[in-house]
Symmetry: C2
């Protein structure tokens, strides 16, 4: 498998964590989102992913090469094809809650603070893109924190790592980057610390990728 991604993209990071947790090896293909006006806009990359986002997972199945984008679609695919270790609980209600928490990040926070949106806010309106990002991250984390009160154990849902943790960790990195105060979200940072002790999370960290640019 090849993972087309970018070190600081939280969606790419989610997929790296899941691949590591499941013990799947992959080739990492950096797509630089800023250099050359953004390599995701190249004709070659658009052929893999017309939305021009990262990540895209490239894999062969049924004798054909497939290009799968959208990180949660990728996580679900990995879960179905490589079910162990499971990143979704067995219980249908708990599975639903894991997906709900994951979507709070995936559709409730991240789309509003991703690079293309911030670029447009700055270019079109000379708006304060950092304040915009911080607003939505803080709002979303507030909801996530409230929801996790009902579900969390050592991790976001119970005592097993799930999609929800895979989504949480990169989002908290991004929260700090945009200056969001995480002090009110102690439950989330406690879960983050539990994740940080796992090698799969450590190896997936943005700063440890070959295309990382030190701050």
């Amino acid at each position: 498998m090849k993972l087309h991604g970018y070190w600081r993209s939280s969606a790419s990071w989610r997929v790296r964590i899941a691949l590591n947790l499941k013990g799947l090896s992959y080739e990492y293909v950096p797509v630089h989102l800023v250099k050359d006006g953004g390599q995701q806009h190249s004709e070659a990359y658009r052929a893999l992913n017309p939305l021009r986002t990262v990540p895209t997972l490239e894999f062969t199945e049924g004798g054909r090469v497939h290009h799968l984008s959208q990180s949660l679609a990728i996580l679900e695919y990995l879960e179905e094809r490589h079910p162990s270790p499971a990143l979704l609980p067995a219980d249908p209600v708990l599975r639903a809650k894991v997906r709900m928490l994951s979507e709070v990040v995936n559709s409730g926070i991240q789309p509003l603070q991703n690079l293309m949106v911030l670029q447009r806010i700055k270019a079109e309106w000379k708006g304060d893109d950092k304040a915009w990002a911080a607003h939505w991250i803080d709002r979303g984390l507030g909801a996530l924190h409230a929801m996790a009160q009902e579900t969390a154990g050592r991790y976001c849902v119970g005592d097993s790592v799930s999609f929800a943790d895979v989504c949480l960790v990169p989002q908290l990195y991004s929260a700090r980057r945009f200056g969001v105060d995480l002090q009110p979200y102690g439950l989330l940072t406690r879960v983050e610390a539990a994740c940080a002790s796992l090698p799969a999370f450590q190896a997936a960290h943005a700063d440890r990728q070959p295309d990382a640019v030190p701050a």
Copy 2:
């Protein structure tokens, strides 16, 4: 089951379609997103859904009442608990592609054009919220259209209705509302027409909900 939703919310609409396709009856509880400053911000609703979005599905399982938000998490839950008729194909790659197309709408388009985002753009910067919405819808539909070229039959993926169609139809309604030219997206409007012939889609239409306000 109770569905807390709003007639014109595309995420609420998706869940109505899925419930109808699966023949599940439900009580519809309107949450007016504008009246009274937005009923989703009420203390009562925040207790059901701290992110203050619609829809929220209320159901009883294991002797407990649950409140599940995030439309794709709800669709997955319905699919697992009420597998027939299936809204995901059996083949793992096709399932992945359905989820990818669904997420292009769910995380790639809708979050950028939802009410709370448009309200903030208008209030903070006196920005043109309609142009903002149209930009992201057009960009996302362009990607969706390109992806669907490879997967579509009568519907977005093959000849069976899936999550992807459930997400597409309300998004096209919203596209028209914001003045997006759909002429370049003939494949998508053809799929929409196929869906429109199905009673489950007809009954779920925004304009047919009890809280609908005629244009």
